[in-house]
């Protein structure tokens, strides 16, 4: 995917000589927010676009919803097939923290459903045997 800032870099800012450019612009997308409103999105939280009613233009009908940016729409399109936060960030070519802010917007509006990773930490009892057996079966087919 073409980085969202590719055109701007070439047309307005030459070679992107301003080293801060790549730092500033991602947070422009987030309207200046540098931290997500929720901290429960992880690298492998899986997100899925919810089915939505469409308006007369074929766009999701969201009464009272805040305006979506192009990146939001790309995410909703991408997540028709479930995808992890890390995959979405890689597809958007955006840093993980910026991606999480955008995802948080969509989860808050009910447009994305988030599934947290399975709890496997040893301190919490570790992964259960059924999960490990399933992983083992999958790996054996490699």
């Amino acid at each position: 995917m073409t980085p969202y800032w590719a055109d701007e870099d070439e047309d307005e800012h030459g070679e992107g000589a301003d080293g801060a450019g790549t730092m500033v612009r991602p947070y422009t997308i987030t309207r200046g927010r540098t931290a997500p409103e929720r901290d429960d999105l992880t690298l492998i939280t899986v997100l899925t676009t919810t089915q939505q009613e469409l308006d007369e233009y074929g766009r999701p009908y969201r009464p009272g919803g805040r305006g979506l940016q192009p990146e939001h729409r790309v995410i909703l399109d991408r997540c028709r097939q479930p995808a992890a936060v890390a995959e979405i960030a890689a597809d958007l070519d955006l840093p993980v923290s910026v991606t999480k802010i955008l995802l948080g917007d969509l989860v808050a509006q009910g447009l994305l459903l988030a599934r947290a990773p399975l709890s496997v930490a040893r301190a919490a009892g570790g992964a259960d045997l059924g999960l490990l057996k399933a992983v083992r079966e999958g790996l054996r087919r490699l």
Binding site: M23, R38, D40, T42, L43, I44, T45, V46, L47, T48, T49, T50, Q51, Q52, R80, Q81, P82, A84, A86, E87, A89, A90, P95, V96, S97, V107, G110, L113, A114, R115, A116, P117, L118, S119, V120, A121, R122, A123, A124, G125, G126, A127, L129, L131, L132, A134, V135, R136, E137, G138, L139, R140, L142
Partner: protein, 206 residues
């Protein structure tokens, strides 16, 4: 690790377009240039993906208070792949950044990992010491994969174990990380290791 409130909350009103699979992750660690992304690529069903994260020194939060003011930000790249075990379960493989000082700062990367693989190169075993220390300190179960490009291995497994100061129960495999069967065997060894671990008893508090 506590469960997320997001999944516990029932979905209201909206239908899910496709059922989301559950996800787990395995960390692939080791010194710089030891073959982490190569191993990920050998077993992943997709070409390894790359994403980036901003890390600030402030997020270390241990003893470096000066870092809080400095807001010393760095961009760290992360390569990862995926193995779809079933429609209900996906395993993500994350190659940790080559310099451990970065992933020490990155809680989201290391929290909740099923386990880890430490790749070591027999010509410079010391470059993987920090990864072993890290997994041990975080109580993340791991296996060791000795990467022998072109089958060059001048040291016996016993020598390597001694040099790495490995616990006897930590599995160690020797092979070429470019080969999918070796990558598969390394991951299977990790899962078997996890199955054999004693169940931790909850420790009473207070």
């Amino acid at each position: 690790m506590t469960s997320s409130p997001m999944t516990d909350r029932p979905t209201t009103g909206s239908q899910v377009a496709a059922a989301a699979p559950a996800a787990v992750k395995i960390l692939i660690a080791g010194g710089f240039g030891v073959g982490k992304t190569t191993l990920v690529g050998a077993v992943s069903e997709v070409t390894p993906l790359r994403t980036e994260e901003y890390l600030t020194r402030a997020s270390v939060g241990v003893d470096d208070l000066s870092g809080v003011d400095e807001k010393d930000t760095t961009t760290v790249a992360l390569d990862f792949g995926r193995i779809t075990v079933s429609p209900e379960l996906v395993v993500y493989l994350f190659g940790t950044p080559g310099q451990e000082r970065f992933w020490f700062m990155w809680n989201d990367l290391v929290n909740g990992a099923l386990g880890g693989v430490v790749i070591a190169d027999t010509r410079r075993l010391e470059s993987s010491f920090a990864s072993i220390d890290f997994f041990e300190s975080r109580d993340i179960p791991f296996v060791v994969a000795i990467n022998c490009f072109h089958g060059i291995n001048t040291r016996s497994p016993a020598e390597i174990r001694a040099a790495l100061d490995l616990d006897p129960q930590v599995p160690m495999l020797v092979g070429d990380v470019r080969e999918r069967p070796f990558g598969r065997d390394v991951l299977l060894a990790l899962v078997d290791h996890l199955m054999n671990l004693p169940v931790l008893q909850p420790v009473p508090v207070g």
